[in-house]
Amino acid sequence: MADDMNQDVNVETQNAEPEVIETVTVERQSAPSAIKVPVSLEEQEKLKKLGKKKISKAELKRQSVLLILGAIFFVYGIVFYYLPLAGWFMAFQHFTMKNEFFDSFFHSRFVGLGKFSFLFRFDLLKEAFDQTGNVFDALAQWVDGAMFIRTLRNTLGMGVLNLVTSFVAAILFAILLNEVKNKMGKKLVQTISYLPHFLSWIIVTGILRETLSSTGIVNEMLRALHIVEDSYNFFLEPALFWPIVAISNVWKETGWNAIIYLAAITAIDPCLYEAAEIDGAGRFNKIRYITLPGIAPTIVILLVMNIGNVLNAGFEVQYLLRNGVIQKVAETVDIYVLEWGIGKGDYSLGTAAGMFKSAVSIILIIIANKVAKKSGQSGLF
């Protein structure tokens, strides 16, 4: 290490050589900005190649520490993030676990798309269509019969419901909180609003169960208002499960999600509000024409990011709150993977389901990004 440095310093002070290194790097760095002036594609390539060719040994030595660290993180990433991707190959096998990694990998039976056809059960769809002759009836029957399709519907349904409610709640909360002039009160409400974010879903679902139980506050209020006689069991009503999940999400994350919007609102130029006031804009017009457009870019970026996560969001709450009665509306893709892929040991089926989920997520995020860009906002990439 110390040797390295000494050499570098010596070279730089004595010889003319390092000068060359310096200019090379400068050239490399300035090349992209120079490209803004119309330069043909071939020329760009040439410039890039020139830059690459002239990486000298001294430069490599100089950043050897960076290269070594980079290599370590590259290997780490390959092992923990990219090797599981290679594991997608299992989706096309009937994977059986053996003691040796390569043994189980290469000697498992290849089944092609067999696992996927078990997931999607298009045969059921066809059968249902032959029976009923009506597309919608057939689809309904298919969703009812094919378990994976049902979990897909639940995941998407709850994901979209959560996305919409949590976005609206967070934006509304940020705008309303921003209107508060009393600094102490504002700070206090905000601090309280973060609290549930730091609680685990285990605690939140536990609290939720107590709140909605027969001795919980909700049932007590309903009894006091004579809406119910005895007590209402919220977890036995399939139609209520999705809203309950959405509401618990709103309860847990609204304050946290509002942080970014509040920061974005603070960044809006106060002159705009003053100008609007002089033009006679009231409170609501200021929100409508200044605050909302001001935070629109933030909203769009977060929306694009979260749309890619719609399928990922369906696990903890559903897993912790589900019961036998509402199983059909509560089970999500991740629960399916856990039960079939790991619980029942059909690793290939679990992999296939996970792989499909990942693929849908990527497609969703790309579409969302395209739409965002088309509507004139800057997207994620």
Partner: protein, 330 residues
């Protein structure tokens, strides 16, 4: 009205081209402020409704937590009657005694504290080093290594391949499954990178002229300046470690010595009939003393949430900056 308008114009455009003295400016500003703070009837209605709404919001957020605390300090048998709101009716700490005597909870608490400390430290070092590497302008693979990690934010292999990988790496049934796989997270790296990129390049250059290597630059120059963002990332990681239960269930279900606090709490709380044995856990404890399921559950919940509730209000400004960097810029 005309007076204020004149003053306003004077404030904005100067009085007949004459320079305003500082006192005059102060006076005009006060006037303008006064005016903008005056509310009409509609404004008052809005302010009142808004205040009521936000107070309700705060109450709805706080009440269930306070209610749990109240139940946890209440006598177990008495708690069965319900109607306990924000204060215990018959004070008792028996439930806490029971909770602290449960073997699983004690082991889980130790594992959770350990994984939070070790996991946060290693993750912070790893994320910061990676962010440091990809934020160096000279680094040859700056953009390719960044992209390599950004991709991991959006694509993942899924539960089953990851678990099979862990099995062959020997991570199943060990403590290190909580530490090593989650050490680098692309989101945190991007937050740190954005912060480091905004530091002036001259710092690095002048240190290099003085003969400092990259490790010295990282440890002595960049890291001290990154303290706020380090605190942010540490907070994110620590909360994640403290609250996680799924990895304990998935990878260490058969190794009770590596159970975590949250997983034990889950076993205590879950009333799903399928996991019948776990319902027994709470009632088992209840049989021996005068505590009941509900009071034990409440006490265990309070024990797991107290450390975080105590710490987070003091770290507010850190996570606010962290989220702003990560969400708006990244």
């Amino acid at each position: 009205m005309s007076k204020i308008n004149k003053d306003e114009i004077a404030l904005n455009y100067g009085a007949n081209g004459k320079e305003l003295t500082p006192e005059e400016i102060q006076r005009l500003k006060r006037l303008a402020k006064k005016k903008s703070h005056r509310l009409d009837a509609g404004g008052w209605i809005f302010v009142i409704c808004n205040t009521i709404f936000l107070i309700l919001f705060a109450l709805v957020t706080l009440y269930p937590v306070i209610n749990t605390v109240a139940y946890s300090f209440n006598d177990g048998l008495d708690a069965l009657r319900g109607n306990i709101y924000i204060w215990p009716r018959k004070f008792s700490v028996e439930s806490y005694k029971t909770v602290f005597n449960m073997h699983g909870i004690v082991v889980g608490a130790r594992v959770t504290v350990l994984r939070t400390l070790i996991g946060t430290f290693t993750a912070l070092v790893a994320n910061a080093l990676l962010a440091f590497v990809i934020s160096r302008k000279r680094f040859l693979f700056k953009s390719s290594l960044s992209l390599f990690w950004v991709i991991t934010m959006y694509v993942n292999g899924g539960m089953v391949p990851v678990m099979i990988l862990f099995k062959y790496l020997g991570l199943l049934g060990s403590f290190w499954v909580y530490i090593i796989p989650g050490m680098v997270s692309a989101f945190n790296v991007m937050v740190l990178r954005t912060y480091m990129q905004d530091l002036p390049d001259e710092l690095e250059e002048s240190a290099q002229l003085d003969g400092a290597g990259y490790i010295t630059i990282f440890a002595r120059i960049i890291s001290p300046l990154c303290k706020p963002v380090y605190a942010t990332v540490a907070l994110f990681v620590a909360v994640g470690q403290w609250n996680s239960w799924f990895d304990a269930m998935l990878y260490n279900r058969l190794n009770p010595e590596y159970t975590t606090l949250q997983y034990e709490l889950m076993r205590l709380l879950s009333s799903v009939s399928k996991q019948g044995g776990n319902v027994g856990l709470a009632s088992q404890a209840a049989q021996s003393t005068q505590v009941t399921t509900i009071s034990v559950r409440s006490a265990a919940s309070v024990v797991t949430m107290v450390p975080i509730i105590i710490v987070y209000p003091f770290l507010q400004r850190y996570f606010v900056t962290g989220l702003t960097i990560g969400g708006v810029k990244g």
